[in-house]
Symmetry: C2
Subunit: 450 residues, 2 copies
């Protein structure tokens, strides 16, 4: 509604605005408002009316092509023919549920689980990342007997009641539960890479100590392996392994939220946690898993799932249905055939270099960071103060949209440009994005930058 993620609040159309829109767009906005109510959020000062998607492109009703550097759901590319064909074929053949046998879901499970470390060998299918995190929390609480959960200060893990509780980035009228403990993301920009990771791990230790002092047993720490909503912080290699060890020593589980970094987005590895040389107790997947077909999954150590399942029921009607299996398999095929992991690594590295060069010419770009095709560009008042500049980020997002390039914002202060395009994003697209950001920043400052 008004502010699912507080971080996005400002990159929104003002629903109380009446004039200035193209009549066709104004009509859609009015119909939307009537059906969805006034608090449902729409991106951009000038909303986009979309009619087509293809690869890294989105097209509006006028045929204008937008370079999509925002959407991580169509991860192998908008309307990837392999996924479209697989879904169409399976939809026409069989679509039931996992209480019957069908070969394809086991074949898909075997292929998917083979990308995980060998200890993580069971899977439960769900329909969304939110359902996945919700179930992971249920498993953690049931198997540890604990309730305490550690998350980062601006974490967003999903939208159910239980997951909203551990998603401080979401606006919620419910007070945060006494069992939820927040730790700051590793702010490598202000603390330096090494110290940021150390500070993060000291904060985890402190949260565990506070829990113990208050008689709260830890259930889990839930961390997005690239800390997306906090502002994109890859951190030092291994820092999450250290955090996981602390949590386990205190009796809790480590849940890796791979909804955003997973499926090769970070380039180096299929899963974000793998860069840290660690094995989580549970990993959750969502968004890109079916390239837009709604599916999610919980990968879990068998002993945990068996212990949970002995006393708890769980069935998900649509989860892992034959069409989900087909979509998921097509995504794995496309990732491999199109070389998207390697492209994420190479194009991501190229884009980071170009953005870093741009930062030298614009005083407002304080930091460029990320892994693969998940990058954050931190906008600040000036490089000396490093003061977060939310308004500059919102201007940049809307300025880039005016230049037909789509990005979003992230972070507690909403001042970090979030760049996470479909993984078929190439060098020429990176160049277009950098030129659009350059143009937007130059226009905003009335010149060619600092």
């Amino acid at each position: 509604m008004a502010s699912t993620q507080k971080i996005l609040e400002l990159n929104a159309f003002d629903m109380t605005r009446s004039g200035g829109l193209d009549p066709a767009v104004a009509d859609l906005v009015a119909r939307r408002r009537k059906a969805f109510g006034p608090t449902s959020m729409l991106f951009y000062e000038r909303p986009l009316n979309l009619v087509r998607g293809e690869g890294v492109w989105l097209l509006d009703e006028d045929g204008t092509r937008y370079l999509d550097a925002y959407n991580n759901v169509p991860s192998v590319g908008h309307c990837h023919p392999r996924v479209v064909e697989a879904v169409a074929r399976q939809m026409g053949q069989l679509n039931t549920h996992t209480r019957y046998l069908y070969d394809s879901i086991y074949t898909y499970s075997e292929r998917l689980l083979a990308t995980y470390p060998s200890g993580l060998s069971n899977i439960v299918y769900v329909c969304t990342g939110s359902e996945a995190v919700d179930l992971a929390l249920r498993i953690a609480r049931a198997t540890t007997g604990g309730t305490g959960v550690i998350v980062t200060e601006n974490a967003y893990h999903g939208n159910t009641t239980a997951v909203t509780e551990v998603s401080p980035a979401s606006a919620s009228s419910e007070p945060r539960g006494a069992h939820v403990f927040l730790v700051p993301a590793p702010d490598s920009y202000r603390l330096g890479l090494e110290e940021a990771s150390k500070a993060f791990n000291r904060a985890v230790e402190a949260a565990l100590a506070t829990m113990q002092a208050r008689g709260i047993r830890p259930a889990a720490m839930v961390i997005d392996s690239i800390l997306s909503s906090d502002g994109v912080y890859p951190g030092t290699v291994g820092f999450l392994a250290e955090a996981a060890e602390s949590v386990r020593a205190a009796g809790g589980l480590y849940i890796a939220d791979e909804v955003q970094p997973g499926f090769a987005r970070t380039g180096d590895t299929m899963w974000g946690f793998a860069r840290h040389g660690m094995i989580p107790d549970i990993a959750v997947m969502g968004k890109p898993m079916g390239n837009g077909f709604p599916m999610g999954g919980v990968v879990v150590k068998p002993a945990l799932l068996e212990a949970f399942g002995a006393h708890n029921g769980y069935f998900n009607t649509f989860g892992g249905n034959p069409v989900a299996a087909a979509a998921g398999m097509a995504v794995l095929d496309a990732l491999a055939e199109d070389g998207l992991g390697e492209n994420a690594r190479a194009t991501g590295a190229y884009l980071a270099v170009q953005l870093t060069a741009l930062a030298h010419r614009h005083e407002v770009i304080g930091d460029v960071r990320g892994r693969g095709l998940y990058l954050g560009v931190e906008m600040v008042r000036d490089k000396a103060s490093r003061e977060p500049d939310r308004a500059a980020a919102v201007r940049a997002v809307n300025g880039m949209r005016a230049r037909n390039v789509l990005v979003g914002t992230a972070g507690r202060h909403g001042n970090i440009l979030k760049i996470r395009p479909p993984l078929c994003f190439k060098r020429e697209h990176a160049d277009q994005l950098v030129a659009a950001l350059d143009g937007a920043l130059s226009a905003a400052t009335g010149g060619a930058g600092a």
Copy 2:
């Protein structure tokens, strides 16, 4: 897992069993066990290995055709060409999310909301019935300031943490919260139709009084309009309107769970609550909404949604995406073009008559009830005692499966056959179902019945 719904526990394959299966099936079971763990439930003593679906039919690997009288997700028929084509076309065109404008989601919303009473005019899209109930509870709690929830004794409303709490049919290691109050379903078989409805409403009043005595403010009553998991109890016309008034008088909301009865299944009306001449504050939809494409929805009074949205964020990545809009629209088209509401009414009435005739010949059939194509057949030790007979129900389900007809069980005692086929189920299918039940019961008793 072992027992998502305790009611289904016995209609399950024994995963510890090793021999006696066809080698191909045994191989699938072994692969399933390896990927899903030992507590994931599989239907039937002899699991089904499915490869095709069409209309009311499911086909296994040998080409055996099963008459599907269980699955309510493929509500307009397995692999309905209209839905297959709509999903395939839209998948190839555009699949984003509701933070951009696209015409089709508003057109679909307008058509769908037109089937609701005029006061229920806002919609939030989600991906599953569970997500819908979870959000409905969040809205109810945020807008009433209450926490108390009334549900029936064997209700099943979904699988998230918050929804499992109000789903006593689900096995859960968590103790039931002090804010959850149970009322018995209106057992028309044992109390008579009128008295059952009265008893239900007395129980609702009593629950509200207990809440008040304990200082708990009511947030909502959540009722499946056909009381599916309790054992299929349509009740007297209007009895739910009375319950809703009681809850509202105490400050709570009435949430109609239309996941099972909705989309014309009950024949008389598009929505189960409509039969009672009442307007719920919130209605939730799931299963049949996209005929297998994962989608759900929360229809809500605008004032409630606006009050919720002012202080709470909610965004659902896949909810209401362009493919969901296409699938949902195709379902509405198929319902209208194929005359499925009228068929549900007529064929359901015919089937109820045939089953009632069968009941006269079998001592174990205690009661036949339902609306449209949602029927319950209650299995008892004998007609005099009316003692629930779970074993007889499980034998009947497996005996019917052996005769190529698929049904399930429901109810606290697991003794009620649950019949809810795709809505294109015709008289000849009804005849086949009745013959299969007759055969199964006759074989079980070693004769032609009582």
